[in-house]
Structure formats: C-alpha cells, structure tokens
C-alpha cells in the first residue's frame, strides 16, 4: 500500500472523512486547552508582564505560517513531478490558511511590540521576513484566482511556489544582512531551559499542536471542497451539448 494511492481523489476523500473528525476534535481540544491554560493558568513574566500571554497565539500562528508554505512547496513538487491533482489542490487549499496565520502572527506581534519595544512596527529581520512571506501568499493566491484553466493554474502556481521559495530564502538572508533586530531568539529550541521556563512551555506546546491539527483539519476539508468543485466542473463540461 503506497502513499500514492491517496492521490486518487476518491481514496483521498475516504481517508480524509475518516481522519477529519479526529483532527477537528483534537484541534479544538488542543487550542482550547493551550489557550485557556495559557491565558488563565500561567503567571506573568517578570519583565514582560501579562503581554507574555500573547505568545500562545503568536508563536503557533507563526509556526503554521512558515510550515504551510513548506507544505505548499512539497505539494507543488509532487504535482509537477507526479501530476497528482489532489496534491495541487491541497496546496491551493493551504494557501489562504497560511495567509490568515501570517496576518495573525503580524498582528499579535505588532500588539506585543508596542508595549515591549515602544513601537508597533520595527524593520526587524523577523518581522520583515514575515511581511515578505505575506506578500508571497498574496501573489500565490492571486495567481490561482487569475488563471482560468485549473491545470494550467496548478502548473503556474507550482512554478511560482518553487521560484518564490528560493527567493523567500534569499530575502531572509538579505534581510538579516540589512538590519540587526529587536526580536528575541527562537522561542522553542531543543534546549528549552535556555529560552522560556516550563510554566510557559507546556501550554505553548499544546497550543502549537492544536494549531497544527487545526491546519490539518482545515486543509483536509478545503481540499475536499476543491475536489468537489473540480468534479462538478468536469461533469458539467461533459454534459454540455456538442456543437
């Protein structure tokens, strides 16, 4: 049983129908527990005060924003190499989710930055990279909307995703070169003691897991939507009376 069997829309939908209830449920539990624990059950940071509670939204959103793009890149590669429609449609389905997560990351970051750094926005490498990522999402989604033929749209957006990823990576290093930042280092690392203490760490990890499951559930459902739209299109194209 190879993984490619799920490239068939029917098999994909069957599997997706089985997985989705668990994904939605676990996502709801994870996000609720992570956010409620974080919001009500953690102390204030001695330096940042209550603003530290924003971390339970900010970090998971940022995590998804980046990984959604990576998932789209992989799905695009699969489409270009193996021509599996489900893969292209999954990339299409993931893009708006990634976009919203990027916006959440930017918004919560700005709200957090105001009391901490004294400014809503600084041209810090991390913030700037996220802004660029936001632009890439916009362009990718706009290209999907603009091309009429769905297979051509899948082709072109995949090429854009590939080339865009290279340029996004280059931008990341360019931005690091261009400005030293205010942003703190990674919030999560293997050596957790170094970054944030256990009190904050557990709810944060749960929130991240919840967001990841939410992303999975959303992408599965949205891919199902795209498959329905393609199937409807294919069926109605064949019903039209021939000239």
């Amino acid at each position: 049983m190879s993984i490619w069997e799920y490239a068939n829309p029917v098999r994909f939908l069957a599997l997706s129908a089985k997985v989705q209830p668990f994904a939605w449920g676990a996502a709801a539990i994870g996000i609720s527990v992570g956010l409620i624990w974080g919001f009500f059950g953690t102390p204030d940071d001695f330096r940042q005060g209550a603003t530290v509670k924003i971390i339970y939204l900010h970090v998971p959103a940022a995590w998804i924003a980046i990984n959604a793009w990576i998932m789209m890149l992989l799905a695009s590669l699969v489409w270009l190499v193996r021509r599996h429609h489900v893969s292209a449609l999954a990339a299409k389905a993931a893009a708006p989710v990634g976009l919203v997560m990027t916006v959440i990351g930017l918004f919560t970051g700005a709200i957090w930055g105001q009391p901490m750094w004294g400014t809503w926005w600084a041209w810090d490498p991390r913030l700037t990279s996220f802004l660029i990522l936001f632009l890439f999402y916009l362009g990718y989604i706009a290209l999907w909307e603009a091309v009429e033929d769905p297979d051509t749209a899948a082709d072109l957006t995949s090429v854009l995703c590939l080339v865009g990823s290279v340029f996004a990576l280059m931008s990341r290093y360019a931005v690091l070169f261009w400005s030293q930042g205010l942003h703190q280092g990674a919030s999560l690392s293997m050596d957790k003691q170094e970054n944030i203490s256990n009190v904050f760490w557990f709810p944060l990890v749960i929130a991240i897991a919840g967001f990841t499951l939410l992303f999975l559930a959303l992408v599965l459902y949205r891919t199902g939507t795209e498959i329905s739209l393609r199937r409807a299109r294919a069926l109605s194209a064949r019903m039209e009376p021939r000239a």
């Binding site: 209550a50 509670k53 919203v100 918004f107 709200i111 939507t225 409807a232 019903m239």
Partner: protein, 54 residues
C-alpha cells in the same frame, strides 16, 4: 474570572480578540464555501444520473 492583566490588559485582550476573530472568519468562509461546493456537486451529480451515466 479574568485574571489580572495589569496595565497590559488592552494589549493582551485585543491580541486574543483579533486572532480569534480572524480564525473564526477563516473557519466560517471555509465551511460556507465547502457547503455550497458540495451542494452544487450533488445537484450536478443528480442531473448527470438523469442524463445517463458518465
């Protein structure tokens, strides 16, 4: 019930408000689009059945 957020109450609450609102918006849009697409497909499938098998 709401913990004492000190002087940062506005920031924290608005961050949660904006984020949850955005998530809810995404969820609502996803579900609405999904429902209408699935309904449209059902209708077309029914029509094709009447016209004969594809």
């Amino acid at each position: 019930m709401i913990p004492d957020l000190g002087k940062y109450a506005t920031e924290v609450l608005s961050a949660y408000g904006v984020s949850l609102l955005l998530l809810a918006g995404l969820l609502a849009r996803t579900l609405r689009r999904g429902k209408s697409a699935r309904a449209a497909l059902k209708q077309i499938e029914a029509e094709t059945k009447r016209h004969g098998k594809v």
